[in-house]
């Protein structure tokens, strides 16, 4: 058993701290690959979690086609597109942030991460306006679904319009929850990154939270056309 502590090289050009490889790994590569595989497995669980919702959505979409077509038109396509563009931008800035980290550019990384947080908050703000626009007209999820006189005519003769909005609020709600978690995770990266913990020798946390952020984007890439465009 080797008694030496393994460290990855600590780059210069910032207040970088050395990274110790955990005791049960024999090399930095093994540690990085282990963390990465574990995180990919976590992403697999995310895919399966949202997959259940998607399967449910697809089945009711076929079941109540007319309802879904009519209700989908009530969603704000422009705001949806805006949010898509915001989220894609944040995905790009995140990728650039990871790139900066891999090249040990501390300042650059933190700037890209701030941009990502900004976009994420923008997404949530737009989401807030979309939600309140629906709530104002009494379009609530589930049994609180009670459209007012402006919206009620849209739903006349439609079978169970509440189901569409249940899916809309559940899916975008759980997705929004993931965005919120992502914001906190990236803020943590910015905080720790400022202390110089992440650099070419130890980019795993930035890399992994980046992956998380991309999967949040990936889910939105499917949610957006399903909810706003296809019906």
């Amino acid at each position: 058993m080797s008694h030496a502590v393994l460290e990855t090289p600590t780059p210069s050009g910032g207040n970088f701290r050395p990274h110790k490889v955990a005791h049960h790994f024999t090399s930095a590569v093994q540690e990085f690959q282990s963390l990465k595989l574990a995180f990919w497995l976590f992403l697999v669980t995310e895919v399966m979690l949202f997959g259940g919702l998607f399967a449910g959505y697809y089945i009711y979409h076929e079941q109540y086609l007319e309802t879904f077509v009519a209700c989908g038109k009530l969603l704000n396509r422009e705001l949806g597109s805006l949010n898509t563009i915001i989220l894609l931008t944040s995905s790009w800035t995140m990728a650039m942030g990871v790139r900066a980290c891999q090249r040990s550019k501390q300042r650059e990384m933190i700037n890209w991460l701030w941009l990502t947080v900004l976009c994420a908050c923008g997404f949530m703000v737009v989401k807030y306006f979309e939600y309140t626009a629906k709530f104002d007209h009494g379009v609530f999820p589930g049994s609180f679904f009670a459209p007012d006189e402006t919206y009620a005519p849209f739903f006349e003769g439609l079978l169970h319009p509440n189901i569409f909005f249940s899916f809309y609020f559940t899916m975008t709600g759980i997705h929004g929850f993931h965005v919120l978690l992502g914001i906190f995770a990236i803020l943590w990266l910015i905080w720790q990154g400022g202390k110089g913990r992440f650099h070419a020798g130890f980019s795993a946390p930035v890399d992994l939270i980046g992956l998380y952020w991309h999967i949040v984007d990936l889910i939105w890439i499917f949610l957006f056309p399903l909810l706003y465009l296809v019906p």
Partner: protein
Amino acid sequence: MTTNVPVADVAIEEQPKENYLNCSKGFWSWAGTLDHKRIGVMYLIGTTMAFLTGGIFALGIRVQLWSPDGVMFTQETGLAGYNQMFTLHGVFMVFMFIIPAIPGALANFALPLMLGAKDVALPRLNLASFYLWLIGTGFAIYSILTGAVDTGWTFYTPYSIQTEQSVVSMGLAVFILGFSSIFTGMNFIVTCHKLRAPGQTWFRMPLFCWAIYATAILQVLATPVLGITVLMLAFEHLYHIGIFDPAYGGDPVLFQHFFWFYSHPAVYIMILPGMGVISEVVSVHARKPLFGYRLMAFSAISIAVISFIVWGHHMFTSGQSEFVMMAFSFLTFLVAIPTAIKEFSWVATIWKGSIALTAPMLYAMAFLVIFSIGGLTGIFLGALSTDIHLHDTYFVVAHFHAVMMGSTALAFFAGVHHWWPQIFGKMYNETLAKISACFTLVGFMVTFLPQFMMGSQGMPRRYATYLPEWQGYHQVSTIGAFILGTGFALMIGYLVHSLFAGKPARENYWGGATLDWKTATPPVHTNFDEDPVVTTDEIYDYSFLSEEKGKA
């Protein structure tokens, strides 16, 4: 954590050796430990407590069914309490005992050792998984205190939407326990991929590792779907989102699809680790290399894969499409192939072996018998036309208890007895252990064979009262349950006794050939004093034992 006391080589015999149990002391050295062995021990204690709790509920069920009109709950006093009792029995046994027991307790202890790793890949996640288990259990207990769930462990809609509010907290408990299970699975997959010792190739991994690896795949892929399902169920209960509620245009059968997409793979999450334990136990205690090693490894993986395409056989009377039912029924029979490969390979391993009738081996043999019964009756239930008759009868109850209780729980106890000296460095009273194993086998048969019989005659499950003609069967079954209970109580007794007054176990107590035995008993904190290297394909080669004997 440790104070590096310089240990003089000569003095080693005098003082107790340092191992993972005594290397640090105090509450936080356990509560905050990242050592997979200690986490395994904590899981062992926790899951055993859950087993005892679930067992008490089981005895309650059997007492109730002693007389046709019910003993504890009658028409006059109301029968709802019975529904709560079998629900809690199911939830505790499934989510808090069987699913986490072998991976959490035994695999946590043995898998890194078998692979020659110093720890699991992500020790913090491992600890988090245990705490999630605790929190989930806490939620389950909270839901009991706030008016216990009475839906059965399957939470079928629409009933689960209308019943008590505590369904929400129980759903939350299941959600959290699911994440505990996912974290365990993720950890084991990564450990198997990245942390194998030099020379420890995939086909030199002990079969226990293969079984746990296959289980972990299921845990990672299937559990999230359960997560989203119980989450939607909670929303359904709180906000009536209507997705599973026919009153709002939803389809309850969709809930069953989602539920069984998890819960069918989940029955393999329960049984595959048990199969892994049995593979190790029969090989060590029959002193023979495992028969058909590669096929055994592949069959573990193929059971995992097939389990994803057979879930509909739980829903033959739910009103799903007839075409899909036929497909599910056909696909279900595929499971029999890898399962039979396993069963026959174990038997072939024992055949002409140097069989030691030790306590773990007795448990393992009981497993082989009961698993055959459970497996073969599974074929009846997988067949579409027979299942229409047997659906929701005691035949189903007896079938899955043969697989879950008679096989997985027995495999768990086989494993506990097998690794006990290695985990604690103490040896239990073997005579008592053998008696307890016999109690378990006899108790199982007496409990469940009558259930097969009355099930085939139409006794429905989950009924608090029944027609008088089944009373004989029920009474025999209740007696059997108490025989089982006696066996388990005895077991807990001598195991706990051994911790305090047991004889110290010698190194490599059973003479195992895999890496988990090629270290100190109990292992040191970092598992191995020297980094192990695997040099041979013959991982189940016991010839070293006769050589040692020759030298002596």
